[in-house]
């Protein structure tokens, strides 16, 4: 399947292991990625806060670039991009006159956004386009005995109506379903649908780190080996900032945080190092130990 691929900013900046692991995993999932390297930042909701027309224009430009490719749809690997882009797309698709005005801004580049783009986060694409049965059939190293806590964050599940979370598309259970399809054990803990705190890291650092620290601590108490996140910004607060979060909540943490493509890669037979896990601030020791024990078990 060929998709117009929007990696976002952070996957190419402070979480390079996300972009890298996606590139490694894509061929194993029969995904051909057409990277939208001309597109600009989605604005993360903050540019929309600053100037709505600007955010809607930047994202309409990205959508138009995606529609110029021969990809079947647009795919992203960042919940924040998904949420911010869905918000802009909701406005663009809801009103012809407004869409015309925004498209007028793009006229200099001869770009036009046409209503009705399908923009799916990798998680949604896995379940809705690739399918869990196909995914299961591709697993070469089931995540047996690996206890994985899903961390959905906010932008990919709320508001439910805008993000198309409904009975037919229970997108708020997809991470549970994918972990199970990969052979792992789902750990339920208090923070599954909570906020990582990243959006207020510059405005209220104490509260932000407390959020991250509390969720990681809850997952440790629930006996998780690692958390998996569909969003690089969650990864920044939960992994990069984990040493600070630990200080903030006054307890030791040290829980590995995986990006979704990294978890997929493990089950599809790739090694932790290939998936960039050595770049994490929190060493994913439990995951590497698990991986080593599986390899040892297979050769024994």
């Amino acid at each position: 399947m060929k998709v117009a691929y929007w990696p976002g900013c952070v996957s190419r900046g402070f979480t390079p292991e996300l972009h890298g692991s996606m590139a490694k995993v894509a061929p194993l999932l029969d995904l051909e990625l057409i990277e939208l390297d001309r597109a600009a930042c989605c604005g993360a909701g903050v540019i929309a806060e600053h100037n709505q027309e600007l955010a809607d224009t930047l994202n309409a430009r990205t959508f138009a670039l995606a529609q110029q490719t021969d990809g079947a749809l647009m795919m992203n690997i960042c919940s924040t991009c998904q949420g911010a882009q869905s918000e802009c797309q909701q406005r663009l698709d809801a009103n012809t006159e407004y869409r015309r005005q925004i498209n007028e801004n793009l006229a200099d580049e001869s770009l036009t956004y046409e209503k009705g783009l399908t923009n799916l986060n990798l998680l949604w694409l896995l379940v809705e386009e690739i399918g869990l049965d196909t995914l299961r059939s591709k697993v070469t190293r089931p995540l047996t005995d690996l206890k994985v806590g899903p961390f959905y964050g906010c932008y990919i599940v709320r508001p439910a109506s805008r993000l198309g979370v409904d009975e037919e598309h229970p997108r708020d259970r997809y991470m549970h379903m994918v972990i199970e399809a990969l052979g792992g054990t789902v750990i339920d803990y208090a923070g599954v649908y909570k906020c990582c705190g990243f959006p207020i890291i510059t405005m209220n650092m104490d509260a932000s780190l407390k959020m991250a620290g509390r969720h990681v601590g809850d997952a440790i108490d629930a006996d998780a080996d690692c958390l998996v996140v569909p969003c690089p910004l969650c990864h920044l607060n939960l992994d990069l900032q984990q040493p600070l979060a630990a200080k903030q909540v006054g307890r030791e943490l040290g829980l590995p945080i995986l990006h979704l493509p990294q978890l997929l890669g493990l089950a599809l037979g790739l090694e932790p190092k290939e998936l960039g896990m050595s770049k994490h601030v929190v060493k994913p020791t439990s995951v590497i130990d698990w991986s080593a024990s599986v390899v040892a078990g297979a050769t024994a």
């Binding site: 930047l58 698709d93 923009n119 709320r158 439910a160 109506s161």
Partner: protein
Amino acid sequence: MPQYLLKLRRYDPRSGEAAYWDEHRVDLGGRSSVLDAILKVRDEVDGSVGIRCSCQQAICGSCGVRMNGRPGLACNTHLEEAAARDFGVGWNPSEEGDEVPAGVIEVEPMGNMPVIRDLIVDMDAVHWKKIQRVSPYLINQQPVPEREYIVPHENMVDITQSMACIQCGACVSDCLSMEIDPGFIGPAALAKAYRFVGDPRDAEHHERLEDLSEDEHGIYDCTHCFNCIDACPKGVDPMSQIMRLRRRAGTDEKIVDRNNGHRHEDTIATLVRDYGLLHEAEMLPRSYGGNSWFGKFHPAAGQVLLRSLPSIVPAVLRRKVNIKIAVFGHKIPKPDLDAVKKLYAKIEGREQRVELNLYVSGFEDEPEAPPAETHGTGAPQDDGPATSPHELEAASESESS
């Protein structure tokens, strides 16, 4: 008649006993409300169940509770809807062969507020205090106009959204900022604040905005979790009102607050203009020290970078953060960056901002294909209020009054 298992969280702080689940089987149709079931238990089984309720028509806002982990009004939530909820922590999926085929419904008191008894929370201690905090009344211009004050239609429709609030506290219950930082003014009160900031008759827009920006628990303490939007039974969209307050404060009134809120917003907008992508390494120092390359030399930026060393050092050592990208950032190709800069110049140069408020305009377009065949990112059809044709004229209204 389907049978539901109603699990009520019972707790009396004066008893010295721990909270417990009180289970009752109720025979009621799936279209009966959760409140119907609670009242049935109270009337027929145990008169001591504590629940606050009055109108039973989603008007008085008394019966806010959490049902299977989600906040809402017990009176306008059907039993079948509550039982089917598969969102959030606290969900009990009913499986084939379950003893209670229609499902289990856990009813708990709302969060973020102290429990008085069972399902009754102390709204005075939290919710009403926050509402009082935002001066929830119109401050007239002086001298008071002698004749009626004509408010433009689109302004009126705009603030009608926050006026629709029935003060039930459902958004307060699940506010994730308030959960961590109880001082946060919170979604209900800030939506109420927008009701006056968005009202052209109010005389103290600037003062209100300055107050709410400078307060460390004010508009910049919201973490964008969207819980309040999903919690609200009246479609108030509290978070959207908070974002409007930020836009008014930062972009219109140019209020530079002590919480880095405006600098943070300005920094992201500027970095995307100059690089096309976010230059992450500049975000923290500029938000603290000022929105320019020199921001990092400001003492406030130095302080936060020092505090962040336990994260920065391993990130650099493990090559998570590429030094070149940290220093120079990453950019989109030059012709594209030039195009982005032109878009900025055009849009930010407008005298009046172009905005689409879906609450005012509604969802104009009908879907071209049946919803079942489209993917989830299209505009939902059942969201937002019904729109009368003349409201469409206000589609591109500016919120500036």
